[in-house]
């Protein structure tokens, strides 16, 4: 964009306060931002950096429990901080639009998609209903949604996540705004779906020369989308530069540390030549009550002291497999062996010793820990239950476990989960699993809700514990960077089937099952030209769902994979 640059949005010394513990505290501590027409700015930072708060402030909007306390927000010559609420509201949806993180949660379940789409144009009397609907269909087509004439007349729950996210982008375009705020629009999506949404967003923003603020914590994603990048930390700006310069030559240490995050890699272990696998999943079929089959002939082995990463998109059956192994969901067919001997299908039939062998760590530490129970009891309960510890012995054991997860026992013993940070909560989850003295732990997306730096700490901890205690992990994830850092073996699942499995080093080298290929090539890379190159190579209509649909089930590589 070398045209004459007209400033669209100018933020100066913005301070926003949040209400907590009965006082107002600064959460945005004086941020400046200048955005020109047609420009895309990436806002990146970890959780708590204030990205979304700034995004909402660009619309003159303060979320419940926050207030804009100081500074100026000037949108196309209009000062938003002093404007009346109805003046500000008149901008929203018409000149500044918003695309939320989870389209599934942000579309109203009670109304058809197209009725929500046409709400703003009708509200602002820009179009008649039929015109607005036709325009919606046109936008759906531009965003390459399937059946653009028809898809809008469905309810949100009848449409897939990736399609909904594109429908939401279309909705943001309904009044042809000057500025769109994208608030983590692809974070909740699978990698293959993410590509099609990224491609669609970038394309439509270019078509209409719309300015955008693109909020994300994923550096590789922002590198594809933004002209300039602003890095935030705890409500303050760290630095801002053009995308290329920011990637090639970050100035601040914090930025460099963000760039360097993906460095951890645990040395790969190999299976013992002869030996019985610790856990062996044999030809398992499973379904939820009354539902369709979600697992279809799933088989794989996990050896003592090794990490098997199970990867695949949402709905591929990863978590269901974990539920079968732990006995929460008895399979319809097939069995689970523990050290070569059959494990009772239901946890109810397992002995205490069998139960202790298999523990779980959950994705959302927030919901997996009871907020009203002290840390000492959360960790102490399994220790008492499985090992019969009492009194001083139990307290010593809890202290020992807290030491293991690198939290100072005296400080954390009597605290409650809500007082801890996300990473600390996840550590408590790990300690709780360890308290049972297991040989095998299912880690279900344990790092996906965490910031990258914190996630890396958790991965290192898990790796260290594995070495010390010879633990086996089943690591469920959709993040291939995590697989690279911690896995010894990889199992790729799609639609409830294992499509490919093998040692990690082989899995990251071609040739692959086409689905594995698709998965691997869909992971965004730091190179700002990655998306462009990929789209040129594959063609715009051959990404995401379209590409997975195109995998030929009779391809020799496909049929050969399970043999």
């Amino acid at each position: 964009m070398t045209k004459k640059k007209e400033v669209l949005l100018k933020i100066r010394d913005l301070k926003i306060q949040g209400y907590s513990d009965e006082t107002w505290i600064d959460i945005i501590k004086g941020v400046d931002l200048t955005l020109h027409r047609g420009e895309v700015m990436g806002l990146i930072g970890e959780s708590g950096a204030g990205k979304s708060t700034i995004g909402a402030a660009c619309m003159g909007y303060a979320r419940d429990g926050t207030r804009i306390s100081e500074g100026s927000i000037e949108f196309d010559g209009m000062e938003l901080t002093t404007a009346s609420e109805s003046e500000r509201r008149a901008l929203r949806g018409s000149r500044i639009a918003y695309v939320a993180q989870s389209a599934a949660a942000s579309f109203n379940p009670a109304h058809k998609i197209i009725d929500q789409h046409t709400e703003a144009p009708l509200q602002y009397r820009l179009k008649k209903r039929l015109e607005a609907q036709e325009d919606a269909m046109d936008l759906y087509e531009r965003l390459r949604l399937p059946n653009p004439q028809e898809i809008g007349f469905r309810y949100p729950h009848q449409v897939s996540g990736g399609q909904l996210q594109r429908a939401m982008t279309a909705m943001a375009m309904a009044c042809r705004p000057d500025l769109i705020i994208f608030d983590e629009p692809t974070t909740a999506l699978d990698v293959t779906t993410q590509i099609e949404v990224l491609a669609a967003i970038r394309d439509i923003v270019e078509q209409f020369n719309t300015a955008a603020i693109y909020i994300t914590h994923d550096l590789a994603v922002v590198a594809q989308m933004a002209d300039t990048i602003k890095v935030l930390l705890k409500g303050e700006e760290v630095e801002e530069a053009s995308t290329k310069e920011m990637l090639d030559n970050p100035k601040e240490d914090y930025t460099k540390s963000l760039w360097a995050v993906r460095s951890f890699e645990s040395p790969q272990r190999y299976r013992p030549k002869d030996g019985v696998p610790l856990i062996s999943v044999r030809n398992v079929d499973a379904a939820y009550t009354g539902g369709e089959k979600v697992l279809d002939d799933v088989s794989f082995d996990i050896y003592e002291g090794m990490t098997v990463a199970v990867v695949g998109e949402s709905g591929s059956g990863k978590s269901t497999t974990a539920r079968v192994i732990t006995g929460l969901l008895p399979p319809m067919k097939g069995e689970v062996l523990f050290k070569g001997k059959p494990f009772p299908a239901s946890y109810r039939d397992r002995t205490k010793d069998q139960l202790r062998q298999c523990q779980m760590i959950y994705q959302m530490a927030d919901t997996a820990l009871n907020p009203k129970v002290r840390i000492s009891e959360i960790i102490g309960r399994p220790a008492a239950f499985y090992s019969g510890l009492k009194g001083v012995a139990l307290k010593n054991r809890v202290d020992e476990l807290l030491d293991l997860i690198e939290l100072e026992p005296s400080q954390y013993y009597n605290r409650y989960p809500p007082e801890l940070s996300g990473g600390q909560k996840q550590r408590i989850g790990i300690a709780r699993a360890l308290a049972a003295e297991p040989t095998f732990i299912v880690c279900d997306e344990v790092t996906s809700a965490l910031d990258q730096l914190v996630a890396e700490g958790i991965l290192r901890l898990l790796d260290r514990l594995q070495n010390e205690m010879n633990l086996a992990y089943m690591f469920i994830t959709h993040d291939l960077a995590t697989v690279r850092s911690i896995a010894d073996e990889v199992v790729v699942m799609q639609h409830g089937k294992v499509v490919e499995q093998g040692p990690k080093d082989e899995m990251f080298k071609p040739p692959h099952h086409p689905y594995t290929d698709l998965l691997l090539s869909s992971v965004p890379e730091m190179d700002p030209n990655w998306l462009t190159t990929l789209l040129e190579e594959r063609g715009v209509d051959n990404v995401g769902d379209a590409a997975s649909a195109r995998i030929d089930p009779n391809d020799p590589k496909v049929t050969g994979a399970n043999a």
Binding site: Y98, H111, E119, R154, H157
Partner: protein
């Protein structure tokens, strides 16, 4: 839609089973009451021969199970036997009473339900304002006052001081509909005051509960005006809890109105039940209890169906 019909059929079947269980409980609980029906009918001076003859006539010499089955067989076709006291058919006696109660309940509901939902939406929209607080305090006051007290207050002002409505809601067969509405206005208003608070507060809570949803924020960020955010985006998703509370209150309007009927001398089923209990008129007691149970079950069924019908995920399966 097939799924929904199936669901309704399932719920209806379940309701029938519950009703059957309740019929067993009602019948045998009445059995367990102390005292002898024949003795009660004939009084203290009855000879043993007379008592035995009456027992035989009333079928009291049969085993309880046989009597239950006979009673159930009748109840299925709304034949609850004859009153012990008057000898008249129970269905006829309480049929008319029940119709009166239904009329009063409908009258109150037609006013109370729309009023409380509209008020609920308004207080949700103007939450934490003076209007919200006044509405809350007023409805809470009315729900916390005993209903007979409310009734007498209304009588004092509307009937005695201002003479706008009659204090006694006795009915005559030849009254016109308008007359009827006028005559029963005060008891209906008392009931409205009693049930409004609950429904209004639930509407408010159900809506406010949804205001933190991402789709509400999305609506705000699309520039939707506040009233439309509530009416168009929150309310359609809040129906399920609201419908449930409405159903509970409707059931109360039918089964819980004894005091109001007494205050206004209204010939409803509640009064009939109280009379029957004091006179040990067991066939009437049993019939009333069964009708009340059926009312509860039907209204709850209606609430379930209503909640399903307002859920787009169930109405429009994938």
């Amino acid at each position: 839609m097939g799924d929904i019909l199936g669901l309704v059929a399932k719920r209806l079947g379940l309701g029938l089973i519950i009703l059957l269980v309740i019929s067993v409980i009602i019948f045998f609980m009445v059995e367990l009451l102390p005292g002898d029906i024949a003795q009660a009918v004939l009084g203290q001076g009855a000879t043993p021969e007379n008592l035995a003859a009456l027992r035989k006539e009333m079928g009291l010499d049969q085993p309880a199970v046989v009597r239950y089955l006979g009673w159930l067989k009748g109840a299925v076709v709304f034949d609850f036997g004859n009153s012990i006291v008057t000898g008249a058919s129970v269905s006829e006696t309480i049929g008319e009473r029940f119709a009166n109660t239904l009329f009063l309940a409908t009258y109150a509901a037609v006013i109370a339900v729309p009023v409380s939902i509209v008020l609920g939406v308004l207080v949700a929209l103007l939450r934490n304002s003076i209007f919200d607080r006044v509405a809350n305090v007023a409805t809470l006051t009315s729900i916390s006052s005993p209903e007979f007290f409310l009734g007498y207050i209304l009588i004092l002002y509307f009937a005695v001081n201002w003479g706008m409505f009659p204090a006694i809601a006795s009915l005559r067969a030849d009254m016109s509909f308008v007359d009827l509405l006028h005559r029963t206005f005060l008891p209906a208003l008392t009931l409205v005051l009693v049930v409004t608070a609950h429904m209004m507060r639930m509407t408010r809570a159900a809506i406010i509960n949804l205001l933190a949803s991402p789709y509400i924020e999305m609506a705000r960020l699309k520039g939707t005006p506040p009233w439309k955010v509530i009416v168009r985006h929150a309310l359609p998703n809040a129906w399920a809890p609201i419908i449930n509370v409405v159903a509970l209150n409707l059931a109360y309007l039918i089964t819980g109105v004894v005091l109001v009927e007494v205050v206004f001398v209204y010939p409803g089923i509640g009064q009939a039940l109280v009379d029957a209990v004091s006179k040990r008129d067991f066939p009437v007691v049993q019939a009333c209890c069964l009708i009340f149970a059926a009312t509860f079950i039907l209204l709850n069924l209606a609430a379930d169906v209503g909640a399903i019908l307002t859920n787009p995920r169930l109405r429009h399966p994938k």
